[in-house]
Symmetry: D2
């Protein structure tokens, strides 16, 4: 029986057309990984895509090496957990360039469900689900890495609320003063807000903080367990904070600039908010792609 070394290495051959390739790798790899947080171990189940570039003279990339790297990391993580998902991403892109000596660029994307204990309005604990993601890219000029979260909450439409208010006042003019004081009915719905920030070398971002920023930017966070009194409080809080998707993005940007003002000016920031409109079959969407510097300048 021949060994691996004696078997033909087709990947090393010259391709028919010698164009270089931007990204070659594996997608849809799912693994369970232990991450150690200051206060607890967290189990993540990320879906992982990872890539290196391929020079023009090489027919194929050695894809099995990508999976070997992931398996090593997974195995290591159960004994000596990584401190964060973005440091994991960083370790992997470093190993990618070592294991693919012909590559000059490596990148990884990871996205996982993430569970966090929250307290609902009456103080009862429930475990809420979020999306946590990380990206890292490495080339000659260094490593860039990003961390992000997607948070599900509720938005109440400010426009419909004011339209309803005007209509109610027209119908009940004697109640004008009262109707201007209370929140009136509007449409509200599930909203998914995503915050993604670059983590510059030497800086640290706590994912739970990004979740807090997103939850404060929406009309209200939502909870898996709400008894009647809690439900009333969430509904009232949400209606006292009506928000367009545009407002959610801007309010999150305001918090981010406060919290991370000491970060380098070229730190990349993306905030995106999408409402699954209850009065339409389509979604409303707002997004800002920017740098910390632009936001600090008030742009």
């Amino acid at each position: 029986m021949k060994d691996n070394e004696d078997l033909p290495d087709i990947q090393a051959q010259k391709p028919n057309y010698t164009y270089k390739l931007t990204r070659v790798g594996v997608t849809n790899v799912v693994k369970q990984i232990v991450v150690k947080r200051p206060d607890r171990k967290v189990i993540l189940t990320p879906t992982i895509n990872l890539f290196v570039d391929l020079p023009s003279i090489k027919k194929g990339s050695d894809l099995s090496r990508n999976i070997e790297i992931i398996e090593e990391i997974v195995e290591a993580s159960s004994e000596k957990p990584c401190s964060s998902i973005e440091s994991l991403a960083e370790n992997i892109v470093k190993m990618l360039l070592k294991k693919h000596p012909y590559a000059t660029h490596a990148e990884i994307e990871m996205v996982s469900d993430y569970f966090l204990e929250k307290k609902n309005p009456s103080g009862k604990k429930s475990v809420e689900k979020y999306k946590l993601f990380a990206k890292a890219m490495k080339n000659d000029s260094g490593i860039r890495k990003m961390i992000g979260v997607t948070v599900t909450g509720i938005t109440v439409c400010p426009c419909a609320m004011e339209t309803v208010r005007v209509t109610l006042i027209e119908k009940y003019p004697e109640q004008k003063e009262f109707l201007e004081k209370i929140p009136v009915v509007s449409h509200n719905q599930r909203n998914n807000t995503t915050i993604m920030i670059e983590v510059p070398e030497g800086y640290y971002i706590e994912a739970n903080d990004l979740i807090d920023v997103a939850e404060k930017a929406m009309s209200s966070p939502t909870y898996e367990i709400l008894k009647r009194k809690d439900e009333e409080e969430v509904v009232m809080r949400a209606h006292e904070n009506p928000k367009f998707v545009e407002d959610v993005v801007r309010d999150a940007l305001k918090e981010i600039v406060k919290k991370y003002s000491s970060f380098p000016k070229d730190t990349l920031i993306t905030v995106r908010s999408e409402s699954e409109e209850s009065i339409h079959k389509h979604n409303a969407f707002a997004e800002r792609v920017t740098t910390l510097g632009e936001i600090l300048n008030g742009d």
Copy 2:
């Protein structure tokens, strides 16, 4: 070159273990089909699964015949369109049993986007999207066929509305009378309601009627285009009709029993309603699986 007839027929061989099979066929076939309605031609793009049973002594089902049947029907439909999706389903199961002489049972499931022009509160037309589906089964004892729709609308929670009302009255006792008169804030969200009914031999069900039943059973239909005045009207109408998913199912059942009371008592009926709760990350769900007879009896 050998012809098909001279090539080995592996499917016809005896299998290693002679167990009969319940359903063998193809899934995820997508085709564009023309259906002729009284007033217009409708283009559907159904995803189709179709199956026959397989006797114990036959190793394989002749799967390419299934696709040939679909292609024939598709081609025929462009020149001589079918009158409905469920008559299409019926034709296909009949052909399945002819083309698979060893089979005693044939079935098909089809689901397609379906577009229908609706008028929003101010009378402006917009084309709304629904799901339309059909099933048919044929064996020795005859054909059974079903038609169904899934409709997206809005539900307003009646429980949160009353909890909020009580809390507002507690805070503004002098406004008790007024607060009992107007709809107050609640949570509301996208709701998907499915109605599926058997179409007995000799009877006919118009899919658009099922869409109407579902839209009336929800707090309000929703529309792709709503100017400010329309939006206010949809929001008010929805809040004047707060509905649990349970209410949506029961209200739809009430309409169905009215509309189809002349149908045979064993006509199968399924009504299902799922709300994408705006205050939770999970959904609320209610379902009734029944016969017309049971509902006529008030069960």
Copy 3:
């Protein structure tokens, strides 16, 4: 401030139309749960749907109780893990009927990614991903519970292989003997095979065994890491075991009947196999829905 008890209980009211409902509950609840296996702790992240029935005179089901049950179970599982996913399902349906005293039927469905260490042909370990699911139903006549797995592997088409063989022999008649000895080219593809078995009271089914049955029934299991020599072995093994989806289902049934012959005759069994055909854009599908008794009888 009013307490929960003082707030209106809309769910307890009489509905407009007093039809009973088959299933009312919550869907798409995702939680992280610890399950204790003989040799290790397993972390599952199931998506959970759970339901009870609703009598005709009750407007709404108390949905928040469903989530409270799940939260309790999750919290308990981190300290005192359940022994299996189906015992978890059993515990939950029991609690559902206690917490919903008006209900006579309770059911739960759970599906989770499941990771298991396997050895590839050269003995290298890799962690492979499966789907694990459980169902449980409880009513007056007792509890029924099911466990299931979905396994991804490879199938090689036996029909195309013989057609190619005949064609090659026609072209190279002098090589007839040799061509009849070696596997020749065919199409092969990803296959997803599902086995679901009822777990009768007092019996136990190990999910890992079902995974083994499914992997043996396909042309070959697949692995995340395959160096060149391994890849050759998987490809050869698969081509030495060409299988229709029909064969996969029958071979799995044969193993099941061997392994669980001591189970009650009315034990429910479903085996399903779906190949993502490489030569088509649609899938091939085969399924048997049966009882152990039928299979023992050779039907």
Copy 4:
């Protein structure tokens, strides 16, 4: 009753935090649209996302205008069909900037199933399914538009084939010459290849040509209907053209550079190929993001 004009215009207010937004719009709008091709009418059902930017001083974008534009276009298309999906995209971004006078940037993304009649190896017609997509962006410096297709076909792994060949020759050394002449077994699988090209002002790209380029770049196109002889021919053709995902991308680039060599050098080109590996649970992926000029230079 107040008219729209008398109702409060919340969108026009100043936001709390005056950050401009990159993209505000609607997503997941699905419509049925008629496109007129030289030889036939084509019905597309695109999912549409469309956006404009939002200046810092405006609280909200007037989202209902986006849907009005789409409805107008849809209605117009049934009487006077557009000539192509990318000209439709172009018309919509132009209208977006007119209807949102505060915006300086507009963009649209559309993706639709697309059906095309093909002939299988024996000349039998079958309707095959593809994905067709278009993007357009407009700002002060003009319009850029892209057209793209995603094509499902088959790839056979060249590496496994040579490894198997070497192993077979080792086992049957007397058959070395013959084994070097015929294709031997390998793994093969469904592959999805995407080609996206910019359509510069004054130039035209036929989507069907891009489908041809993608199908030729894979090991073989696939077909919905294949009788035994056809199946053998597709399997043989695929094994005579074993391709890595890297080869598929490079071969498509070669064809593109031939076909569109007269286009401007800065024409954007993306080619991507993803194989749903039959021997793994993950996918293999290769991509080149480039300009025509780079490819013409042989980079």
